[in-house]
Point group: C2
Chain length 149, copies 2
Amino acid sequence: MKKMAVLSLTAGLLSASTLALATPDPEDAIDYRQGIFTAIYWNFGPMGDMMKGKLDWDGKDFSRRAANVATLSTMPLEGFIPGSYSDDDSDALPAIEKNWDDFNERMTAFQESAAFLAEAAKSGDKASVAPAFMDVAKSCKGCHDNFKD
Amino acid sequence: MKKMAVLSLTAGLLSASTLALATPDPEDAIDYRQGIFTAIYWNFGPMGDMMKGKLDWDGKDFSRRAANVATLSTMPLEGFIPGSYSDDDSDALPAIEKNWDDFNERMTAFQESAAFLAEAAKSGDKASVAPAFMDVAKSCKGCHDNFKD
């Protein structure tokens, strides 16, 4: 993924023509959404460790990460496009296409719970943030159980 | 990258222990920043195509993408950590560490130009947005010329 992304970034910015297409390539869509989920976990992992006491509680850092997760949660949906459910390149199941309304609702629930957590995290108080954190974690699990290989 | 990211995401959310570390693993940092840059290009590529007339101008979509780029531009810096400049996994040069102040300034310039573009794009007017778009493209190129293999 890396090489392709870097090459296409360079080509797109430095030459007169870009590799971007009016209709996204399914491989690019997979790379895009996986990039977003990687960035979500980069933030959410340490948040979980703080909740579990594996990392010292840092309310300011938790809040910063929660805001990032809330912003990033709005982005992956557009990467789930027809033709992007290959077994080789993605664990996203074709069930997503067949049950789009349910998938869409679950993504909305993820976005809403992440936004609620970001707001709650402004308090900096670990105990009061815990339920909102668990709601986000549950929304992740709910989607994975149904739509991820 | 995909498998590792998905596995660590699942493990982190669904089990009692997570794979997140207090000090990020350099490989995770590379995956993180590359994920962000992939997402930036997912947005910036079609913006460039609109500017060049390869895609029809859609002021609303351009503005949405510009806002995403501005938000995402604030994220990659924290992924440039010691030990994450391997030739095998990344095109980011060790020069970044040796010239951190310059690199940091260029990333700030990228963030500022992206924020300015997002604001300008609210007008929906292609001609008036063009200079701000070029400033972002130049900030990308400036950093790549100096710090990317």
